[in-house]
Symmetry: C2
Subunit: 300 residues, 2 copies
């Protein structure tokens, strides 16, 4: 058994594909662990054993607070944590307790927007972390990823948001479409990326027209895979930026995502003359979970 | 053994997923057969056995002409039939003979366009069939499908063309993305389809913004699957029409596709005030293979 003393609480980021946990003392990380036991692969009675196995080495008692965010709170998750409607603060003191478990687990609810219909689960925690670290910040937060979110923040509240499937489209097109033959991994081709972003940000209808040309260029001109891959990424991000223009035009932008995602989005925004602050996604998640833990302590 | 007399030649449509054959006497079909032995599932030495097995019941000798179109002529096919460059007639007398087989098989080459880069294999045969049945026809032919083609025809030649991945995108999004939960099969919702086409044809950037809202509308408002499915189809076809506008605006349009595809495209075009002639895809394929057979006879 790993000898970790003074565990005050456990932070949990439980998404569709992965489960990550941190043993915490206040805002300080004592230890961390992760597994592939994401929500997508579990039935309701599988969540308890998956979490127990991952933290078995830690000294966690039945009263140790465990705060979780992400798809663990969806209808197919461990407990359904009903969405809170925007406009609202990204977090409040109301967490949803998981019933019928020997652990003391509470789940952070996601957010909903009724018109246009949209939802998030997990990003609200990263947003709360960002606002905890940057009190009084107003502007737009972009969270690139499988389902990228653009989120308008004002006076500590999420005012509105919009989700784009660009990340999932990239995964499907690069892994499962006819383009997979042409976009194998490779170092980024910045010029090809920039040109593709410029193409679809100014004329978004070109997305539909340009996708197959990635394959045809490979067949007829043997385009380098790194160039084809950068072009696909650029076309999709450019189309997203064209649609998200009301979110970023003239705004103060913060990016929360993986280093690669954030670099691509920052580069595409910079080409439009829009500076963006890049932040560390894991740090925002932990800061948000910490804020939720503190809220919940204050409330009890 | 099925007793089929007077087989003059064999017509073969060999795509990525399917193999279809017809026993022919001139332009008359004597018998037909099909299997799932598409190009995508075969190595080079698998083509001969797959075809032989499918026509085993027919009285086909080593000299019987067999004319094939489609992906069978690709680099990963039975023999590589190099693309012919547009502008050119969809067919000429030059067919590519399959070597090292006891059958007399010739393959119709596909077409290439160098700028913008594009390719087709199989559609040139359907176009040739349409032109054989409609001599002197000028206008634009749209061939919906996995990789939809828009093709400008003038004086019997293919002048230019453009490929759209809308069909493959629909298959990926409806079968493999987060939207799969929301767009199960259902009867068409024409109003939802029309509205979605109108959305993206006038503002194509909305494609990126509207995809995830199909999922969110289901979660928050329990949208009917048939409505969600029609919306996804309409968004993709509308975005394609926005990009293909130079092809159809003020043009004479013919559609070659499955009845469902053709109906959707015709409906979307009609909403733009553009009438389109719907044709039967299999009939066009057979007419094109027949034209290729006659060309090849004339050439020998």
């Amino acid at each position: 058994m790993t000898d970790i003393k003074n565990i005050e609480w456990i932070a949990v980021d439980w998404g569709t594909s992965n489960l990550r946990v941190w043993a915490m003392q206040g805002a300080q990380v004592l230890a961390q662990a992760q597994s592939g036991d994401g929500m997508g692969g579990l039935t309701r009675d599988g969540f308890g054993p998956a979490l127990t196995a991952l933290i078995a080495d830690w000294n966690v008692g039945p009263a140790t607070p465990i705060i979780a965010c992400g798809m663990v709170g969806s209808r197919q998750g461990w407990v359904e944590a009903p969405y809170r409607a925007v406009p609202c603060a990204p977090l409040d003191a109301q967490l949803i307790t998981v019933p019928d478990t020997s652990l003391n687990v509470r789940v952070i609810p996601g957010l909903r927007q009724d018109t246009p219909a949209d939802v998030m689960r997990g990003e609200e925690t990263q947003i709360a972390g960002f606002l905890a670290l940057n009190p009084g910040w107003d502007g737009v937060i972009c969270l690139p990823g499988t389902h990228a979110k653009w989120v308008q923040i004002s006076a500590g509240e999420v005012v509105s948001f919009q989700t784009f499937m660009s990340g999932e489209l990239f995964a499907l097109l690069s892994g499962h479409s006819v383009l997979r033959h042409s976009v194998q991994s490779g170092d980024g081709d910045q010029a090809a990326f920039d040109e593709a972003v410029s193409d679809t940000i100014s004329r978004p209808e070109k997305l539909a027209a340009r996708l197959f040309s990635i394959r045809a260029s490979d067949l007829l001109q043997a385009t380098a895979p790194a160039t084809a891959r950068a072009r696909l990424s650029g076309l999709l991000i450019g189309a997203e930026l064209a649609a998200a223009r009301p979110y970023w035009l003239g705004q103060n932008i913060a990016l929360i995502g993986t280093p690669e995602h954030s670099r691509n989005y920052a580069s595409a925004l910079a080409a439009q003359g829009v500076p963006a602050t890049i932040t560390d996604a894991e740090r925002m998640t932990l800061a948000g979970l910490t804020a939720a833990y503190r809220h919940s302590k204050d409330a009890t």
